[in-house]
């Protein structure tokens, strides 16, 4: 599996291989800003969604039209019949402010990360998988058995990680931004195709919700795997940039 140029060039220089360079400064900074923004977006997004926990497909939808599905949670508006006898307080004011502030921050971070990823070949070396069915099966089997990863995996991502990270970076994040913008009446007045390609305003909202669910699943899996693989060393690598050499 391809090691990062960053790792291979500097690992040789690390005396005794005690602390091996792992993540570049840009990757570490953008990782933690993104993580921070993710939680701000999730928290505010949950607040926004509870004001109308019903979802629709197509252009329009409201309490007078059938829902695609409704979340079994209480709402922050009396207009939505939830079966619960209480209405949660309206938090949409600061939630929407926070949601867009965090969205701008994560957009700027994503652009920085994308430029870095292309110029430093970070995408090619560390993120994009080198496709091999045999390798994929081997890695799947290893994961299914909850095997501790090989020491070499502290230095380079395995194929499943690469598939997961590629999907998030190149599919889920762009989809999140697209479906978010497609809900903006101002933005779609300038770019109507952005919402029409998705099937309408309510489709954009529903897709935004599902993309958020997938991102939550990813983060849960990501954190679980970090803990499984060795929390301290992985956190050290993503914070200080250096990883402690692992031995079996």
């Amino acid at each position: 599996m391809a090691d990062s140029a960053w790792v291979s060039s500097l690992a040789a220089a690390a005396p005794g291989g005690k602390r091996i360079p792992r993540h570049s400064a840009v990757v570490r900074i953008t990782h933690w800003i993104t993580a921070f923004c993710f939680f701000a977006l999730l928290f505010s997004g949950v607040q926004l969604v509870i004001s109308h926990p019903r979802f629709y497909w197509g252009e329009v939808g409201n309490v007078n039209t059938p829902a695609l599905f409704q979340l079994p949670i209480p709402a922050s508006r009396e207009a939505v019949k939830t079966g619960y006898n209480f209405v949660l307080p309206d938090q949409n004011g600061w939630s929407r402010y926070l949601h867009f502030q965090a969205a701008w921050a994560v957009m700027a971070t994503a652009i920085w990360y994308a430029i870095h990823g292309l110029l430093s070949r970070h995408f090619r070396l560390n993120i994009l998988p080198e496709w091999s069915w045999a390798e994929l099966l081997r890695s799947l089997r290893e994961h299914a058995r909850f095997q501790k990863p090989a020491p070499s995996e502290a230095l380079s991502y395995n194929i499943l990680q690469r598939v997961a990270y590629s999907s998030v970076v190149f599919l889920l994040f762009p989809l999140m931004i697209w479906t978010g913008l497609a809900m903006s009446p101002g933005f779609v007045s300038a770019f109507p195709l952005s919402v029409e390609l998705l099937g309408g305003h309510q489709s954009a909202r529903t897709l935004h919700f599902f993309a958020a669910l997938l991102l939550i699943l990813f983060v849960l899996g990501h954190v679980a795997m970090v803990i499984h693989a060795g929390f301290a060393n992985r956190m050290r690598a993503m914070t200080t940039g250096r990883v402690k050499e692992e031995t079996r």
Partner: protein, 242 residues
């Protein structure tokens, strides 16, 4: 840190700060700074407003085909508005007045019939509530730009405030939205008089922004250049093009 690095860093910070200050001044001149640009969420809000003002300068809200009009539109009225609705239902719409004051040459007061004598405009647009739901309707009304033009709005005007019959409910838009061809003083919906629940007899319709900017039961319009007079009614963002 060496002295050289300190000097470089200070010069860099100074250049960055003055660059930012200059950018803010230019942005303000071109109307790119929203009234809620201060505070914790000011940066994000300013970026949203400025970028949409640049992107949507000549854009029109999406319009729909007649067959896309919602069969089941939703009029969102809270239980605490019940009394208000009863009051409005008893109101004879012939007695409804819309006053225009502030930075206009000819302050005036219009009846619904007066507004209907303006060229009427039709649009089939989607009302998108900030809560997430939406419906499509055909809206009929007088263009706010026409009404402002007749009142002789001052070239220095920056904002249009509009107040509801509902006590204490005022909102405002910038001139860019006020003069936009789709911004209507709406008195008709789906070919009939605008029902009270949907804001009748008169509702401001701002289709490039979320529903809360389309205030119901409008009876007063004030033109101003003073952003301190806008009086935030909501904890919600002032600009709702989102």
């Amino acid at each position: 840190m060496t002295r050289r690095k300190w000097i470089e860093a200070s010069l860099g910070t100074l250049a960055g700060a003055s660059g930012l200050a200059a950018a803010a001044k230019v942005a303000d001149r071109y109307g790119l700074i929203p009234p809620d640009s201060g505070g914790l969420y000011g940066p994000g809000e300013t970026l949203t407003y400025a970028s949409q003002r640049l992107l949507t300068r000549h854009s029109l809200a999406r319009e729909f085909r007649r067959e896309q009009i919602s069969q089941a539109p939703f009029c969102n009225t809270a239980s605490w508005q019940k009394q208000l609705l009863e009051q409005l239902n008893q109101f004879s719409f012939a007695d409804w007045r819309l006053s225009i004051d502030g930075m206009v040459a000819k302050p005036a007061s219009y009846s619904i019939a007066d507004l209907k004598s303006h060229t009427s405009r039709n649009q089939i647009t989607q009302l998108i509530c900030e809560e997430g739901w939406s419906y499509i309707a055909e809206w009929t009304g007088a263009s706010l730009a026409d009404v402002l033009d007749r009142a002789g709005v001052s070239p220095q005007a920056k904002y249009v405030l509009y107040s509801s019959f509902e006590q204490g409910w005022t909102d405002s838009i910038d001139m860019s939205d006020a003069l936009h061809p789709q911004t209507l003083l709406t008195y008709g919906m789906n070919g009939r008089d605008l029902p009270v629940g949907f804001g009748g007899p008169l509702r401001m319709r701002v289709p490039r922004q979320l529903g809360y900017k389309s205030v119901k039961w409008i009876n007063r319009i004030t033109i101003t250049d003073d952003r301190k007079k806008l009086g935030a009614q909501f904890p919600y963002a002032w600009y709702a093009g989102i």
